[in-house]
Symmetry: C2
Subunit: 375 residues, 2 copies
């Protein structure tokens, strides 16, 4: 499913292709986050226009609203939301541990109350697969426990043991399904282990024994210092097999993504481009800028002079500032679109640099320019 195409000679960055039921994805790749079956304020056509090859959907949210019955009747998540390119769905684990209330964790699974209406639900590793099969995503994720930072070693050991047992159950469940019918949905394992490198190593070994179509590095960017994020991601990535895609969940800022690509990570998702965009924060090649500030009033430059996105080709910082000031929805829409374009372009330029064996220079140049903050 994953084909390694080229390894950068200056870093651990790599080019690859991942084949899914809805087409090929070039890696490294950034996946815009479509939590509730829509990338917030952005149309599917705009996602295609900026070159998004795959998006992420949240099983937890979609399971609660609109519910599986409706998505099944619609013919799956792709048809429900009108998106014909690949979709990765998370298992819902992260949301159960961050959004839901009254959690009861047992060896069997996770019981929780919906953050929307308080209704009780019970998710097992098998059910997490069934939910994602109903959604029909191209890449499914196993149910895991995402441990926040800091976490005591004892707790992490126990949690990791549970995550590994769940991973095995998820894989066995899918094996049965695959034995019964032709199935093209991929399943990724998730490496946990918090900041304990030996536990990360054990997690990788256990997951590799089970065998997955790709591997995510979970439990990073959960509150730990930035250098730890990259240290753990780099350490874990180096343990993973070359012939499988590697995905760091929820990373991150543009600088984080460039670092992670250099450490051999292939796949990224993050709410930052849209969430920060809705607050008026725009990413430029000279760093991020805040468009709601009063000093943007008479700034008639585009968000980024070198950007080709719709917002930059047609609108100015001053206009977008006016839209935020008057609470016009077009404002957050334009900045979200620009930010997504920026992320996808950053990845595209990274790919070119890898192809030309100059990713280290590209990374250094990007970070230097991005961090000067002369705007």
């Amino acid at each position: 499913m994953f084909k390694l195409i080229h390894k950068d000679k200056t870093t651990k960055a790599r080019l690859g292709k991942l084949t899914t039921a809805h087409g090929e994805i070039n890696t490294p790749v950034f996946m815009p986050v479509g939590t509730q079956g829509t990338v917030k304020s952005i149309s599917t056509q705009e996602l295609k226009d900026i070159g998004a090859e795959i998006i992420l959907g949240n099983a937890y949210h979609l399971y609660l609203r609109p519910g599986l019955e409706i998505i099944e009747k619609a013919g799956g998540l792709h048809k429900f939301m009108g998106w014909d390119r690949p979709i990765l769905t998370d298992s819902g684990g992260y949301q159960i541990f961050s959004l839901a209330t009254l959690r009861k964790l047992s060896d069997d699974g996770a019981e929780f109350s919906s953050h929307i209406d308080g209704s009780r639900h019970f998710i097992t590793p098998e059910k997490a697969i069934d939910i994602q099969r109903t959604l029909g995503s191209d890449i499914m994720m196993i149910l895991d426990e995402c441990v926040h930072y800091p976490a005591a070693r004892d707790y992490v050991e126990q949690s990791l043991a549970l995550t590994t047992r769940w991973a095995l159950r998820a894989k066995k469940h899918l094996d049965k399904i695959r034995a019964a019918r032709d199935d093209r949905q991929l399943l990724f394992g998730i490496v946990q282990g918090s900041t304990y490198l030996d536990l990360r190593k054990k997690a990788v070994e256990d997951l590799l024994k089970i065998g997955f179509d790709g591997y995510a590095i979970g439990g990073v960017s959960v509150g730990e210092p930035e250098n730890l994020i990259h240290e753990i991601a780099a350490y874990t990535a180096a343990l993973l097999p070359e012939d499988k895609a590697r995905y760091t969940m929820g990373i991150g800022m543009p600088t984080d993504i460039v670092e992670a690509i250099g450490n051999g990570i292939d796949m990224f998702d993050c709410v930052v481009p849209t969430r920060n965009g809705r607050n008026g924060q725009a990413f430029t090649w000279d760093g991020d800028i805040q468009l709601r500030n009063a000093d943007r009033k008479e700034d008639f430059r585009p968000i980024d002079e070198t950007c080709e996105c719709f917002a930059c080709r047609n609108h100015t910082r001053g206009y977008i500032r006016h839209l935020f000031n008057t609470e016009e929805l077009l404002g957050l829409r334009l900045v979200s679109l620009h930010n997504l374009h920026f992320y996808v372009k950053l990845i595209r330029l990274s790919r070119e640099a890898i192809r030309q064996d100059r990713f280290d220079a590209f990374k250094k140049e990007f970070l230097k320019k991005y961090n000067t903050k002369e705007k």
Copy 2:
């Protein structure tokens, strides 16, 4: 500036072309409302895609935010908002009488407090022209007093006399400007007179003596019964010269627009497609439907089976209902877009019917289908 192209043989409907500084407009025409320099939640590209030939901007709102200084520095409203097709601006009169507070009306002009920050402002008929000249709109409207319904005859007589004096001052002010420089901004007069037909007649006579580039019928759809709207618009339209464009301000629902076209009206603006769209109300050829209702959950038809808009080509009622239910902005955006497309298409089909001398049949067929409400 206005060229009458064809008169329907079955009604008073007419085809025309209005030439402005930013290009020709085919009439009848619908103008999406861009109150604050943006048609709410819709991009300029989407406006072009649905075939919008001209949009409306609100002088009152733009004067207060971002303010004339900023728009002037940006090079006018077209450049400020990134729209290169014609723009009509209202004078601000309607908003002064509906939104602003602490109004003091004198023969000289209108003093009012901003609804945003309470700041005091004073607008004269001349200043209303100057504001719209700074905005650089293609069609300017005179400052008038828009009388609400019901209004005592005495009050309407006095108000109308004021509006007429203001109209003369506005025209004289523009004449001076035009004498000094080449100016291509058109100025429309506004016929007031409430529901008193003889006062409407007098208003037309007085305005014709002054002479404008086009004539609006104001003070309709301000609370009076629906039949009165059409009675007054029809009566007034018949008094207006054939060789000038006629515009009913703020009309209205699709059925109102079709009626008004049949009565010889050429130009329309209304917030209904976007405002109602934001509340989940969608217009279809079989009448309007509410997409937020729970019974839309499993309705996987497009909003309108026969519609070619982006929303109908790509999304279902059930999906849009989900977007509203989860407060996703794409929902109100899709319905706003669909509704604007519906209005523009309704006008385009009206034009075809006029060209073929079958507008009466078109109108009857449209109204019959629209009012059956079998959805």
